[in-house]
């Protein structure tokens, strides 16, 4: 008798357990992103969605250096661990041509997202191949390279006077790379443990490439013709060489040991009172205006990437779009989530939480531009961005660039021309291997 009762209870328990887990699975979505503040903001935002619809949405994260590897390991295995992924703009090529992403073209046209989101974000976060009118992601987090600086150092009358005496013009926020270089040199005082500038030098993923390409773009150079894959004469043009030389020049004025630096180190250069100016993606600026994380929060200012000698002004694009993973078992539920995400009020809330919305309406609003000391610079930057290669073989292309420019910038080996000539040769070989020149 006792045995029967036990088994009946166990049976009921099992049935209940199975029942609830199946129910819960129906109503759960997982979004994969890198581990950083915006991912926390996104989790906060999607909690609203859960409250509205009862669908539990989890934002799963992994540290930046692992992000690409982990996402693509899952894609290549056709795994369904993630329903949606907030992928880097460079992933679009591989994501779309290899069938990892769901085609969102109909969704895009149906909701006229082309008019809703900022043009650059559509071009780089959503469309692949460029100009094809096929869309694979919804712009989620806009981002680009910007600069923070020490306002108190810049505004110190004594410094201003000394600067004017030395360089013949007033010390102010730099509008050209040449000024940026002068200011970096001026504030570079190793004996006082003060340094000119903090830039990206980490070559394990795209950090250094983003810093270098910002300079190349502003100097009037380009990485190549993204439509025809022509690289020779473009990546090693005299403008591109000048851009790389400028980056190397700036490296001279960095704090000691500046050989493997990304967003953490560049923010520390400001919070630790080390550098006068620091390059970083806008998404990493929130801790700089927070007194708890930056003792110099009151005296930290921000500016957009400066122009090159010919007045051309660009910045490297960061940021990500959200894509539906084609191996997910919850594709319909994911589409419903995206419909909620693109609503104006959701985008507004997203911006309020600290996310960088790509919605034109929100970006243009006074409320957004005045919400933080850096939002204005962000707004300016989002209309002058350019991005890296987004072809499926971008990882190989990126690695080749890193291998050639790192020894020049950090190691001081060879010349900028040699580094970029070698890059052109390597890239051409890679594109030939993948039959890009038909």
């Amino acid at each position: 008798m006792r045995k029967i009762v036990t088994s009946v209870i166990a049976g009921i328990g099992l049935a209940l357990a199975c029942g609830t887990s199946v129910r819960a699975q129906d109503k759960e979505l997982t979004i994969f992103w890198a581990e950083w503040d915006p991912a926390n903001y996104l989790q906060e935002l999607v909690n609203d969605y859960t409250a509205e619809t009862g669908v539990k949405v989890t934002v799963q994260t992994t540290p930046w250096p692992d992000f690409q590897t982990k996402a693509f390991t899952e894609f290549n295995a056709h795994g369904d661990a993630y329903d949606m992924v907030v992928g880097d703009s460079q992933w679009l090529g591989a994501g779309s041509t290899q069938g990892h992403y769901v085609d969102l073209t109909d969704f895009f046209n149906q909701h006229k997202l082309g008019d809703v989101m900022a043009p650059a974000t559509i071009k780089y976060y959503a469309e692949y191949p460029g100009g094809s009118g096929k869309y694979w992601a919804i712009p989620l987090e806009g981002d680009a390279i910007g600069w923070s600086y020490r306002k108190d150092w810049f505004e110190d009358p004594k410094e201003k006077e000394a600067f004017k005496a030395k360089y013949g013009y007033d010390l102010a926020v730099p509008t050209t790379y040449a000024q940026l270089r002068d200011i970096a040199e001026f504030f570079h005082r190793p004996d006082q443990k003060r340094y000119g500038v903090a830039i990206y030098t980490d070559n394990s993923y795209d950090a250094m490439a983003m810093g270098v390409e910002s300079s190349i773009f502003s100097h009037g150079g380009d990485l190549g013709d993204y439509a025809t894959y022509k690289v020779d004469g473009i990546i090693n043009s005299k403008e591109a060489v000048a851009g790389l030389e400028m980056y190397k020049e700036l490296y001279k004025f960095t704090p000691p040991g500046w050989g493997k630096t990304f967003f953490v180190e560049d923010n520390q250069a400001i919070t630790g009172g080390l550098a006068a100016m620091s390059m970083n993606f806008f998404a990493f600026f929130p801790p700089l205006v927070n007194k708890a994380t930056n003792p110099y929060a009151d005296v930290t200012g921000f500016f957009a990437n400066p122009a090159g000698p010919d007045g051309k002004r660009f910045a490297a694009l960061g940021g990500q779009g959200i894509s539906v993973v084609s191996y997910s078992k919850n594709k319909d539920e994911s589409m419903k989530f995206l419909e909620w995400f693109i609503k104006d009020e959701t985008q507004k809330k997203w911006a309020e939480l600290g996310g960088y919305t790509c919605s034109q309406a929100v970006l243009k609003s006074e409320a957004f531009q005045n919400a933080t000391p850096y939002n204005k610079a962000f707004y300016d930057t989002m209309f002058m961005v350019k991005d890296f290669w987004a072809t499926p073989e971008y990882a190989e292309v990126l690695d080749q660039l890193n291998q050639n420019i790192y020894p020049f910038v950090v190691g001081g080996k060879g010349t900028a021309q040699e580094a970029l000539d070698k890059t052109a040769t390597d890239w051409k070989a890679t594109f030939t291997k993948y039959n890009r020149y038909k």
Binding site: T69, G257, G259, G272, E393, A395, P407, G411
Partner: protein
Amino acid sequence: MASVALTNLDPASRAAARGWSDLTIRNLFIIPTLVFLIVFNIFPLIYSLGYSFTNFAANRSEPWQFVGLQNYRELLSDDHIWSNFVITAKYVIVSVAGQMIVGFGLALLLNRSFPMKGLITTLLLLPMMMSAAVVGLFWQLLYSPSWGPINYVFGLGDFAWLSNPDSALYAVAITDIWMWSPFVMLLSLAGLSAVPQHLYEAAAIDRASWWYTFTRITLPLVSPILLIALIFRTMEAFKTFDIAYTMTTQPTAELIAIRLYKQAFQQWDTGKSCALAYIVLIMVLAITNLYVKYLNKVKER
């Protein structure tokens, strides 16, 4: 012959009471191990050998083609790969030599009785019990040119150990020496304590010098075990990934394992990376074989 032995199961044992034979027990223990080995080691090994002759890329849905020895040819004529091998060779020599000297030296110091010997030995063993990634991250902090204790203690100012292309590799090797010398120390200690005491007594009676005793008694008797330590450490150093990967991104410190990782998991060039893995495997096997041959010679003496 074997079947005779198999019937000799102790009749009083629980296994016998359940009606199991020796054969059943053998199968129960050995078969899972074999299956595990075949599924997780041997099968991937053979499979990846197959991949190394193709242009297979795990992130592409296009069908792959058989390319013969092309991957091997390309790799062996790639200057970058050769420079990775040279870097790895430098690293192996510096870090293994350092570990042998420091580890054996520590063992000599510890091979006598003094108060709290057990505690001190245990404390000295701590580095090798840590995770390599943690060690890498901590040493990155120790080397920091702005406030790292190493520069402070040695008065090196703001010398950038890890950003200087010439010193990065050696900085990583020093960390590896710190982490793995205890391993050599442990093996050497075992060897040293096995040297018969009467040999030393005899040497003392003959008034042999310290150096004579060391080169004629200690070293020859400990050398087989030292060689084993050398084999293990060389193999491991050749494959080093975690410490170097967490500490620096200098191309001058890019060990072959890091290049392999980038090729396999960042660029997804699966076929070529399988070929590279095989080249590394063959090199490690060749080096180990040389050592083992020498070890056998030493043992014969």
